[in-house]
Symmetry: C2
Subunit: 395 residues, 2 copies
């Protein structure tokens, strides 16, 4: 069978091979990128879905508008308002998880050979998703304050990208938070170079001690002309449930119109059953308590992992303590002659029954093999301590 | 904003403009392509979703395998077995509606310029979906026994298509049923020319008086070497609920593997919440009664529409009485100097408060403006009689 040429642009991920080993009995895994199932508000979702079927069975079970189920768009508009973003229900479309928002951006915007700037490192499925549409990815370096805007500006000026894709808040995998000052700079750059900025924000609600700076989308109100140059992707996956597959995209009207047309032929619309359930959940008023709960639990786990890493790995590793999200992004220093290649360490770690993800695949260009990603989301504090101790042994 | 060049291959559908008029008060619509909401088994789905959340909250709300939720794959495998198709759970993938199966076929197989043979007429969203991936569509003529296999063979030999896409059973919009003899011929052709056949089968369960011939997929067991050359797309949308967005695709292992890779970057996976609900529903054993019910109601409506068309439009129209599905496909004859352009009639009909869809957009090539599609699914018998009477007046 001869497959489409676009498939030549992607490769089966090395990480998938690693994931096959995660079923090993007794393993402690920091490899996943998902939230803890134990924190899902099952009771609230059960009520919400029963209510959706009782009050609006037709709406919840019939075909729906490609743009999204109206009551959910209304709830998401209100939800975004609590986060400082003014958007009409008609100013956002519902997507099948925020992964589909990425796919629609690719389908709508990327012609083969077009350049797209991403952070180095960035979300693995973003790299593959855009490459499938023929994008040439350019990697902008990241430090503890997020993407380096001085470097980003040079890259925009040089490459004139179709768009710039950023995960500014507790990014996957970097965990970094783009500073307020840099957020403003990104918007000024967008206007100066008329460059579209895509802000992917699945983790912004998962902050620990203090709220992150306003999203790039909400800051557009301070930078004249910038609102028409920003698309914002949101998701209920990390805070409520990934299984619902509810994401959304806010953006310029003409972009949303084209994305809607493309979505019609991608999946017609997102499950109205899931949309009606999510709408009822948001309407029920349970979301603030759910957010408070996940923030508290993840904050405790993040603290435990930071302490354990310092204690068990010492100067063999460097990292910035994340202020939110699900991930530690770390770098092996090779201090004391210890291993500095995360691929090597990953194999040894599996033998010691602990798993993490090497960082190299997260780079669209110039992979840094000394980096690694550790998720603190799904193991409890005791397991985290034990797992990091095993990692110390493996090192 | 500069959009991707692939968007130049599709146009906003003329039908969309028509659909905007359907909100007119008092209109009787035969325009839709959806099942009747009144027939959804709301009670059964409520129980199924409650059970899914009670028994397997983690599975129903967490991220899931891109290939599909295992309990649903098992149920779908059993469901296909009742329809004469032997397939392991691992031999099918779950898609976000069967629309996504089409999208994945396009993404996986179509390089720009590749040829794909479709029926003339065929499903509108298939035409647009494949064109977005750069396909050149070739149209094979259809009569009351489905696609004309003599013509199809010539087209396959001449164009060497990437694949042939058929809706062999009560097709949208043609309502035609491919005869058993032609089904075998299609499979023999597949083997002779090593051509991939895609069988889209959302309507096969909606038969009235007698069951249709076995699906092309189930007939592969009679034609050596053909199984590896057939992909089969199924859907719960027309028989249970479109809002769940549950479809599936059976096909050669290497095709499913590539489609799964592509799906990972399209939407990660289909809503596990919807999948777990569908799995519980299928497991509950309510499906046979649900199918019997929708068959009975649609059969009655189809009979009423056929009678009314003959009575009210007489020799101004020709059609074959459908044996299943949701649609009448008809052709204006122009007899007695009456209008023979369905676009003209559609406008007059709206003035008389009745709506249908002109047939021309359903042709990838050489549109026949005398054709039209009438759905009998959503209006009751009384409304059908009244609506067709109005159509007679409009004509």
């Amino acid at each position: 069978m001869q497959f489409a040429s676009r498939l030549d642009n992607v490769e089966t991920s090395a990480i998938r091979e690693l994931f096959k080993l995660l079923g090993t009995p007794g393993i402690i895994s920091f490899a996943g990128g998902f939230p803890d199932s134990a924190m899902f508000d099952v009771e609230g979702l059960k009520e919400a879905s029963a209510k959706a079927l009782a009050e609006e069975p037709g709406g919840a079970l019939q075909y729906g508008a490609t743009e999204g189920y109206e009551p959910l768009r209304t709830q998401l508009s209100a939800f975004m308002k609590t986060k400082g973003v003014e958007v009409d229900p008609s100013g956002l479309i519902v997507t099948t998880g925020s992964q589909q928002a990425l796919d629609l951006l690719g389908k709508t915007l990327i012609s083969p050979g077009d350049k797209v700037i991403v952070e180095g490192p960035t979300f693995l499925a973003t790299i593959q998703c855009f490459r499938l549409y023929g994008a040439q990815l350019i990697s902008a370096p990241v430090d503890a304050d997020g993407v380096r805007t001085d470097e980003l500006e040079k890259l925009i000026a040089e490459h004139k990208p179709k768009f710039v894709y950023l995960i500014p808040t507790f990014g996957n995998p970097s965990g970094a938070m783009l500073s307020l000052e840099r957020r403003r700079k990104v918007l000024e750059m967008a206007v100066r170079y008329q460059a579209l900025i895509v802000e992917d924000d699945p983790y912004g609600d998962l902050y620990f001690d203090q709220a992150p700076p306003p999203s790039i989308m909400s800051l557009t109100q301070d930078v004249p002309g910038s609102r028409a140059l920003v698309a914002h992707c949101g998701s209920l996956s990390k805070v409520l449930s990934p299984g619902l597959r509810i994401g959304w995209m806010i953006g310029p009207a003409e972009l949303l119109a084209k994305a809607t047309m493309c979505k019609q032929f991608s999946d017609a619309h997102t499950s109205t059953f899931a949309q009606a359930t999510a709408a009822q959940y948001l309407k029920s008023g349970r979301m603030p308590a759910t957010l408070a709960h996940v923030r508290e639990v993840y904050a405790e786990r993040a603290r435990a992992m930071g302490e354990a890493l310092r204690r068990e790995l010492g100067d063999a590793i460097t990292f910035t303590q994340p202020g939110g999200g699900l991930f530690f992004w770390a770098r092996l220093t090779g201090a004391g002659g210890k291993v500095a290649d995360a691929n090597v360490l990953a194999k040894r770690a599996i033998e010691k029954l602990v798993a993490f993800v090497p960082g190299a695949p997260f780079f669209a260009e110039k992979p840094d093999v000394a980096t690694l990603r550790l998720s603190f989301a799904t193991a409890n504090v005791e397991k985290i301590r034990e797992g990091i101790a095993r990692l110390g042994t493996a090192l």
